[in-house]
Amino acid sequence: MSCIRLESVHKVFQKDQPNELHVLRDINLELPPNQVTVIRGPSGSGKTTLLAVLGCLTKPNSGSYYCLGEPVSRWPEAFLTVFRRRHIGLIFQNFNLIPGLSVAQNLAAPLLVTEMKHSAVQQRVTETAGLVQISHRLQAPVETLSGGEMQRVAIGRALVNQPQIIIADEPTAHLDSALAAEILQLFALLHRNGNSIIIATHDPAVTTHLPVDRVFTMKDGQLSRHDSY
């Protein structure tokens, strides 16, 4: 069974308006589970938009999307949200942490809308913090963290629901090469643990730290596959 299947997916912004923007054109994509997929492409080519579709944050205008066998593109937003919460972890281009909250509270945010008990939430937060090596700063307000630490929290928040699919948008963009290496090693660990990983990035360093299975290039809203980086 494929983990992700896109069939002639289109995404258009401002449809039928003068400033119409056709960001994804006829995307077809099939990814088996437990692979590392990299999506490259110039700025503005539609990488983030593709990830938003893959991450069930937004619906394609046409075409279908099957995620873990479910016809998610036919679902309304409310069901996408629940699905995403169960199966997908998203790491955003900007860390998007909630200011004013501590690391632990940021990590817990996705769990608050589940029926997990308070103690279970705390335990999961502690585990996840250990996984992304941020346990020492659990009570710190997120504004006080360094860039690398912020990215760890962002990754931890994506993992806290124990998703099968992890989607990361330029996870190394704001980090120097040493920090980037650390983060990528974290992804490698997740891959070994059985997660499917999709990364959009310009950073060539991904291949040196990650066993990349597939590489795609996004250009003018179209996706083409490469055999190697």
Binding site: T48, A78, Q93, N94, P110, V113, E115
Partner: protein, 382 residues
């Protein structure tokens, strides 16, 4: 309760605490509006209840004569015709009127000591006067002091204060001045055979209506006031005043709603961003709506209870001081009248309703707008 609701409530409370500077000012303004409202309601409710209690001791039926819509004196002889009616046990001629006291600008009730009571404290001889405590206190008087009153045709008449009423629950005695009948007539400009009205003692209350009807048929041109009617007049009076004040209050409430609307709809940029992130990490629109509902409910209930508490203290502990200065009508009628604590659960529910609901309504649409922000927004957000 499901764990999720607990988490969201907890998140809402922490959020309110995080933005405490902003929320505290909102709560204070909100509580002040509620406090004003609640004061008006509690104050006039309490006054109305006092009036009801007082009037339980009033005569069953009072017969007055009207001419041109104004109360005019009657002759004592008319009382005999009234006592001839079956069902009437006794007819009590009464001499009373109002005295305008220019130093305090208040109106007091002047009355001849009623016959029938044997208590000498209530029977001033000529040259003596018995006063209600309200009058004594507002003029800094004590028993034994001389008191000069202005005669209707001008000139002064001096009395010696021979006693004081204790205000039990008695709204009327509080500002009452009791005189010897002859002197009361002089003060009120009545002739020797004239009285103000007649109070009828009717032992069987079920007969009051029938007797009233009989008198109004037999003696047209007379006004009959039953105790129940007086009660109603008071009710209407208090309610009308209350209604007018509420109108002013309604305007201020409206202003408050606009303010609340403004604040809540202008979900601050940080708040919008926070909601966007929450939606991005898996919160649904329903979850965000619940979060916003908990926030609004907390603010509304907290402020309302605070305002209600302030109003209770203000009205029943401080005697409605602030309100009285606003409501000149009341202060003229009832100089410094102490109120008993007696609000009922209905009034409290009413106050909470009118205080909480508008805020919930005002925040509903902004909450919804926050709740349906596109979760994909934060993928792009910088």
């Amino acid at each position: 309760m499901s764990a999720k609701y607990g988490h969201i409530l907890d998140y809402a409370l922490r959020g309110l605490y995080r933005r405490r500077a902003r929320n505290l000012s909102l709560i204070l303004i909100y509580a002040a509006v509620t406090g004003f409202f609640a004061s008006v309601i509690l104050f006039s409710d309490a006054l109305r209840r006092e009036a009801r209690e007082t009037l339980q001791f009033a005569p069953a039926l009072t017969v007055q004569k009207l001419a041109g819509g104004r109360l005019v004196p009657q002759t004592t002889g008319f009382g005999d015709s009234l006592s001839a009616i079956r069902g009437v046990r006794a007819v009590q001629p009464r001499i009373w009127g109002y005295y305008y006291d220019s130093p305090t600008g208040s109106v007091f009730t002047l009355m001849a000591a009623p016959g029938g009571t044997s208590d000498p404290a209530f029977h001033p001889d000529s040259g003596q006067i018995v006063c209600g405590r309200g009058f004594m206190e507002s003029h800094f008087l004590r028993t034994g002091d001389p008191l000069s009153l202005v005669l209707p045709q001008g000139g002064l008449r001096t009395f010696v204060i021979s006693g004081q009423f204790e205000p039990v629950t008695n709204l009327l005695s509080y500002d009452l001045l009791l005189l010897h009948p002859a002197e009361a007539r002089v003060m009120l400009g009545l002739a020797e055979y004239e009285v103000t009205d007649f109070a009828l003692d009717i032992p069987n209350p079920a007969e009051t209506d029938a007797i009233g009807l009989k008198i109004s048929r037999r003696f047209p041109g007379y006004r009959l006031i039953s105790r129940d009617q007086v009660l109603l007049t008071y009710e209407a009076l208090f309610s009308r005043r209350g209604g007018l004040v509420i109108f002013g209050g309604l305007l201020s409430l409206l202003a408050f709603i606009v303010l609340a609307w403004d604040r809540a709809s202008g979900l601050s940029r940080e708040e919008r961003r926070e909601l966007g992130i929450l939606k991005g990490v898996g919160w649904g629109s329903g979850d965000v709506l619940l979060l916003k509902f908990f926030e609004a409910l907390t603010i509304a209930v907290l402020s309302s209870l605070l305002g209600l508490l302030a109003a209770l203290i203000h009205v029943f502990y401080l005697g409605g001081t602030l309100l009285k200065s606003l409501l000149s009508g009341w202060s003229v009628l009832y100089p410094d009248y102490p109120l008993n604590y007696n609000p009922d659960s209905g009034s409290l529910l009413l106050i909470l309703t009118i205080s909480v609901l508008p805020y919930l309504v005002a925040t509903l649409i902004p909450a919804w707008q926050g709740a349906v922000t596109d979760p994909a927004e934060i993928m792009q957000a910088g």
